[in-house]
Structure formats: structure tokens, C-alpha cells
């Protein structure tokens, strides 16, 4: 079962810089291939694989394997649950900044 993030708190699953970057990148896409995400976020294959597995287990991303021509390709996509979690996380971050009187980003 997908964990329900607490609306008042930053999501612990997204609280590492790498996972947040990964989810933020995917939030702007319908899907992106493994290599593009790896290069964009600056990870190794194994690191991305570990984080993707954790995010998939949380229900935040989906992993699809397919082919382009004869070449195998792995696609990552943000799930609706992941998109909601990111929105809540951004809202929580903005709430922290609201105490200092500033807001940098709206939920994507």
C-alpha cells in the first residue's frame, strides 16, 4: 500500500536531495529514459537503480521496460501518487519559508 504523506511535513521519502531531484525531473515529463535521468541528475547506474527501486516501492514512480528498434530501454515515470507527494512536499517546504516571509516555488 502506498504510504500517505503527512500534509504538514516534508515527505521523508523525498527528503534526500537525490530523490527530490529525480522526482522533480520526472514531474516535468510524461516519462524519461533511464540514461537521460541518470545524466540529468548526475548519478551512476547503480545509484539511480537503488533510488528508483525505493521510489517505485513507495509507489511514486513506475518503471517500464521496452524497446526502441532492437535496443532495450527502461522508462521512468512519475505516478499520480508521486505527483501528489511532490506537491505536498513543495507545500511543506514553502510553509517552512513562509515563516521567513518568502516563497520560492509553487507546487508543480
Amino acid at each position: 500500500m502506498t504510504p500517505q504523506p503527512d500534509p504538514a511535513q516534508p515527505d521523508p521519502v523525498l527528503s534526500t536531495t537525490t530523490r527530490l531531484s529525480l522526482v522533480a525531473f520526472l514531474a516535468a515529463t510524461t516519462e524519461a529514459d533511464f540514461a537521460s535521468v541518470r545524466d540529468a541528475v548526475g548519478l551512476t547506474d547503480s545509484n539511480l537503480s537503488k533510488h528508483a527501486t525505493a521510489l517505485e516501492a513507495a509507489g511514486y514512480i513506475s518503471v517500464r521496460k521496452g524497446y526502441v528498434g532492437r535496443r532495450p530501454r527502461t522508462w521512468l515515470a512519475l505516478t499520480p501518487a508521486g505527483r501528489t507527494a511532490l506537491k505536498i512536499h513543495v507545500a511543506a517546504l514553502n510553509a517552512i519559508l513562509a515563516h521567513t516571509g518568502e516563497e520560492l516555488a509553487r507546487p508543480t
Binding site: 522533480a24 525531473f25 516535468a28 515529463t29 524519461a32 540529468a40 520560492l104 516555488a105
Partner: protein
């Protein structure tokens, strides 16, 4: 539970913003089809403007079909599919737009320019095609994403 201080929250939000822009920028250039389209138009018009318009018109429409088929191939090869680019809309706009542009090339060449000017037939067709292609390139760029 991880706690953020204000500086960390600010940095996290800035990172989210920059990753979003990065994903949009990583998508394939949208204006790509204009280049082969321009080449095909010029070749087609160069070869066929001395033929009856009944031959030229289906040829122009055939070029439009190649253009759309190419867009499907490129879409399949996209590695980052940005939400900012509505490729479905662009593809159908390309289909309808290419047919309309091809029709416009035919109409301007055979019905407007050729009967009323002393331009050679082929030159009139090429001039029209160049104009329409430039218009297509500009439109394609305008349809590009805004991060």
C-alpha cells in the same frame, strides 16, 4: 523525520525549479521536421511544376504525409518526453497544417503567381515553397516549449 531549516528548504525548492527546466530543455528540438520538409518541397516542386497540377497536388500531399510519418518516428525516439510539449497536438497540427500549406503552395503557384507573372513556372513554385517553408519553421519555433 527529516527536518529542513529555511536555507535547506530554499535550496530544495530552487533545485525542483531547476530540474523542471532541465527536463523541458532535454526534450528533442521541436522544429526538426521543417528541415526535411523544406528539402522535400523544393525537390518535389523543382521536378514536378512543369507537370499538370493533377500530378503536383497529390505529390505535395504525399510530402505532408512523409512529414507526419517522420514526426511519429522522432516521437518514438524521444528519450525525455516533456509535459510542456504537447506532441499529440503538434502532430495533428502538423498533419492539418502540412496539408493546408501544400494546398497553399499549389494554389499560389498554379492559380495566382503563374497566370499573372512572367516568372518561369518552376521558379514561381520554388519561391512559394521557400516562403511557406520559412513560415513553417517560424511556426514550429513558436510552438516550442516554455520552461
Amino acid at each position: 523525520m527529516t527536518q529542513y531549516n529555511a536555507d535547506e528548504a530554499r535550496a530544495a525548492l530552487a533545485d525542483i525549479d531547476s530540474r523542471t527546466r532541465q527536463a523541458v530543455a532535454a526534450d528533442a528540438p521541436i522544429q526538426w521536421p521543417a528541415v526535411p520538409l523544406a528539402a522535400l518541397w523544393l525537390i518535389a516542386i523543382g521536378f514536378f511544376t512543369d507537370r499538370p497540377s493533377a500530378v503536383a497536388m497529390p505529390l505535395f500531399l504525399g510530402v505532408a504525409a512523409v512529414y507526419v510519418a517522420g514526426s511519429f518516428i522522432v516521437d518514438r525516439r524521444r528519450r525525455v518526453k516533456s509535459r510542456a510539449r504537447h506532441w499529440g497536438v503538434v502532430r495533428w497540427a502538423a498533419l492539418v497544417g502540412s496539408a493546408l500549406l501544400s494546398g497553399a503552395v499549389w494554389f499560389l503557384t498554379f492559380q495566382v503567381l503563374e497566370p499573372h507573372t512572367s516568372l518561369p513556372h518552376t521558379l514561381a513554385g520554388v519561391a512559394t515553397a521557400v516562403f511557406m517553408t520559412v513560415a513553417a519553421v517560424v511556426l514550429n519555433r513558436r510552438l516550442g516549449p516554455r520552461a
